[in-house]
Amino acid sequence: MPLGDLVQYVVTGLLVGGVYALMSIGLALIFGVMKVVNFAQGDFMMLGMYLTYFLAVGYGVDPLLGALLTIPPFFVLGLLVHRTLLVRVTGGGNPQRLMDAQLILTLGLSLIITNATTMILTPMPRGIQTAYATQAFAVGPILMNQARSYAFLMALVLAGLVYVFLTRTDVGKALRAAADEPEAAGYQGIDVRAMHGLAFGVGIALVAAAGGLLATYHPIEPTVAVNFIVLMFVAVVLGGLGSIPGAFAGGLVIGLVQSLTLLVLPFQLQNAGVFIAFLLVLYLRPQGLFGQRLRAV
C-alpha cells in the first residue's frame, strides 16, 4: 500500500475518532463522578442533533455554532433529569440495588426518549446541508473532510476546556473530590449531591454538543444513538473507567482502529477490529489505557 493511502487512513481515523472522543467524555464524567452507567447518553446526543438541526433550518444558525448553543439548554436538562430522577437512585443505600435501579432507569429513559422522538418528529431522517460536509482540505494527496475537521477541532477545544475546568477551578476540584472520595468530600463541606447534578449536566451538555457536531455531516433520526452508544462505552472502558483523558484517547483509538482495520480486514469486519483491540487492551491492561490499577488489600 502506498504511504499516501496509509496516511489517509490514519487521518480519516483520527477525524472520525475526534467526535467519538467528545461523546465519550460526557459518559466518562458521569460514570467517574456518579458511578452511573447512563444508557440514555446516546439519546441526549440525538436530541442535541435535532436541536442543532432545528436551529439551522429554522433560524439559519450554522451547525458548528448550533452545536455550541446546545450546551446551555442541555446542561439545564441534565440538572433537571438528575434532580427529578437520578437523585432517587444515587447516593446512600445498598450499592447493588442502586446499580440495578440506575440501569433500569437510564435504559427506560433511553427507550422513552427514542420512542417519543419517533412519535413526535416521525422516523423520517433529516439532514443539514452544509457546504463543508462535501468539501475537503487537501494537504498534498491527503484529503481531510472539512466538516469532520471542524468537528474534530471543536471536540478538541471542548475537551480541553473540560480538562481545565476539572483541574484548574475550585468547582472542578470539588467535583473530582466528590468523585474520588464522596464521604471525605462531604466532611470538607462539598455538596456531593450538587456535584452529581453538575457532573450529569456537564456530561449531557457535552454529548449534546458532540451530537451537534455530528449533525454537520451525519443524518439525524430518532434511532441514530444505537450506532454510537456501544462505541462510547468501549471508549470509556478502553480509556480507564471514569478517566476523562482516557475516554478522549479511547474515542480517538476507536476511530483509528475502525479506519486501520480496513487495511487488513474486509469492511464487514470493521467493528470486529474495534472489539478485538478492546479485548486485547482488557487482557494486557485491565485497568484501561489511563485507569489506575486497584490493589487488593
Binding site: 493511502d5 487512513y9 446541508q129 462535501t134 443524518p219 433520526e221 470493521q270
Partner: protein, 414 residues
C-alpha cells in the same frame, strides 16, 4: 260450527300467522340487516429503527387504498365490509420482525398480511405466515423468499437476480447510446439480503459475460462508520459504473457526500427504492443526486398522474415511490381476492390469490405489466424492474421507455 266460532278460528289463525312472521322475521331479514363482515389485514413493517421511514411510506400507501376501497362501497362479497389495518412494528432486526408477525397473526383472525420491506425481515416473517397459513404479500426482492416452496407467500417484485440481469442490460445500452464503453465496474453495498442477491449474479457471471472487470467489491454491515475508504478505492480504481446498495440512509448519505467530496463522476446504479426517497434531496441536495439511478420494483408510470396526485395531496409527500405504491397495490389485490373468495378465511383468500388473474382495476393498473397473476412459486407473473433516475431533485421512471415519465440521461464520463 257457528259464525262466532268461525270468526274466532280466523282470528286465531291470523294471530298465529302474525306470530310466525314475527318469529321468522329476524331469520328472514338477517342477510339484509346483518353487519357487513370486515376484513382484517396486518402490515408488519419497520415503524421504528433505521428503516422506519420505509415502513411509514408503506403504511401511507396501504391506508390510501383502504380509504379508496371503503369509498367505493367496501368489499361487496362481504356485504360491503371494510378493510381494517392492524399495523405491527418490525423494528430493526429479524427477531423483532418475526415476533411482531407472530403477535399480529395470533392475537386475532387476520385474513392477509403485508411486509416486511427488508428481504432479511421478510424471510423470517413469511415463515410465521406459512406456519399460521395466512397469505402474505411482499415487495422484498431476495430470490430466496420464493425458493422455499411456501404456499402462502406472494412476491410482487421482480427478484434480485432478475433485476441485476436487466439493470446490466439497460446500463450497457444506455452507455452505448452515449458512446461510452463499460469495462470496469464496482460493487459497493451492505450485506442485507436483497443487495446480496443483486450482487451475487453480477459478481459470479453477469459482468464477466459482458467482458466487464470488477475493480472494487466492498460489502459492509450497517451502520458504516465512515465512507472514506470505500470512495477512496473508487477514486483510485476509476470504475465506469458503480452498482450501489446502501439500504441504511446514513450510510448512503455518507457515501454520496464522499463521492462529491472526492469529485467522482462515475454513474451510480442503485438497487431499491431506499435511494429515491424525498429526504435524499433535503440531505445531499439535488445536484449530487442527478448522478444517480436506481432499479426498483415499482415507481409512478406514465398515466398514473392522478394516483400520484391523490397520494401527494393526502400525505403531503412530494412524490410517490415504490413503497407506498406496492402496499397500495397489495391492499387492492387482497380486496379482489376477498371478492373472489367471498370469505375472510385466510386459506380461502390464499386460494383465491393463487387463481387470481386481474386484468383491470386499481391493483392491475398500478404495477407493470398491467395485470396481476402469481405463479406456482408465488412470484408475480410479468414483474419487471423499473429504472428510476433523479432529475432536478425528483426521481422519474426512465425505463421501460413506453411507460417512462422522463428520458434517461447519462451522467458519466471522466
Amino acid at each position: 260450527m257457528n259464525a262466532a266460532g268461525t270468526d274466532r278460528g280466523r282470528g286465531v289463525r291470523a294471530l298465529a300467522i302474525a306470530l310466525a312472521v314475527l318469529l321468522a322475521a329476524p331469520t328472514l331479514l338477517a342477510p339484509a340487516l346483518a353487519h357487513a363482515e370486515d376484513l382484517k389485514i396486518t402490515l408488519v413493517a419497520p415503524l421504528s429503527g433505521r428503516w422506519a421511514r420505509q415502513g411509514q411510506l408503506k403504511k401511507m400507501g396501504a391506508e390510501m387504498a383502504i380509504a379508496e376501497v371503503e369509498a367505493q362501497g367496501g368489499i361487496k362479497a362481504l356485504g360491503g365490509g371494510k378493510i381494517v389495518l392492524r399495523e405491527a412494528d418490525a423494528g430493526d432486526s429479524v427477531e423483532k420482525a418475526v415476533s411482531a408477525a407472530q403477535r399480529a397473526l395470533s392475537r386475532e383472525k387476520i385474513s392477509a398480511g403485508i411486509g416486511s420491506w427488508l428481504s432479511s425481515f421478510t424471510l423470517g416473517v413469511t415463515e410465521v405466515a406459512e406456519r399460521l397459513q395466512v397469505p402474505w404479500f411482499t415487495l422484498s426482492y431476495a430470490d430466496s423468499i420464493t425458493e422455499r416452496g411456501f404456499k402462502y407467500t406472494f412476491q410482487s417484485s421482480p427478484v434480485s437476480s432478475l433485476q441485476a440481469d436487466q439493470a446490466l442490460d439497460l446500463i450497457l445500452d444506455l452507455a452505448k447510446r452515449n458512446n461510452q464503453q463499460l469495462k470496469k465496474a464496482a460493487l459497493v453495498g451492505d450485506n442485507t439480503a436483497a443487495i446480496v442477491f443483486f450482487f451475487k449474479p453480477l459478481r459470479e457471471k453477469l459482468l464477466k459475460a459482458k467482458g466487464i472487470d470488477i475493480v472494487v467489491d466492498e460489502v459492509w454491515t450497517p451502520p458504516l462508520a465512515d465512507a472514506t475508504a470505500i470512495v477512496q478505492k473508487l477514486r483510485s480504481s476509476q470504475p465506469d459504473i458503480v452498482f450501489y446498495g446502501a439500504t441504511n440512509f446514513p450510510d448512503s448519505v455518507q457515501v454520496l457526500q464522499k463521492v462529491k467530496e472526492f469529485g467522482l463522476k462515475t454513474p451510480f446504479m442503485g438497487v431499491g427504492a431506499w435511494l429515491v426517497t424525498p429526504e435524499y434531496v433535503k440531505t445531499v441536495g439535488k445536484e449530487l443526486l442527478d448522478n444517480v439511478m436506481s432499479v426498483t420494483a415499482a415507481h409512478p408510470l406514465k398515466g398514473q398522474e392522478d394516483l400520484v396526485k391523490r397520494f401527494t395531496q393526502r400525505t403531503g409527500e412530494p412524490f410517490m415511490t415504490q413503497d407506498p405504491l406496492m402496499s397500495y397495490a397489495h391492499v387492492w389485490i387482497i380486496k379482489e381476492a376477498a371478492e373472489l373468495a367471498k370469505s375472510t378465511d385466510p386459506k380461502a383468500i390464499r386460494d383465491a390469490v393463487a387463481r387470481l388473474d386481474l386484468r383491470s382495476g386499481p391493483a392491475a393498473s398500478t404495477l407493470i405489466p398491467g395485470y396481476i397473476k402469481y405463479d406456482d412459486r408465488g412470484r408475480r407473473v410479468g414483474a419487471t424492474p423499473i429504472i428510476v433516475q433523479w432529475q432536478g431533485g425528483e426521481p422519474f421512471t426512465v425505463v421501460p421507455a413506453e411507460l417512462a415519465t422522463r428520458k434517461p440521461v447519462w451522467h458519466g464520463g471522466k
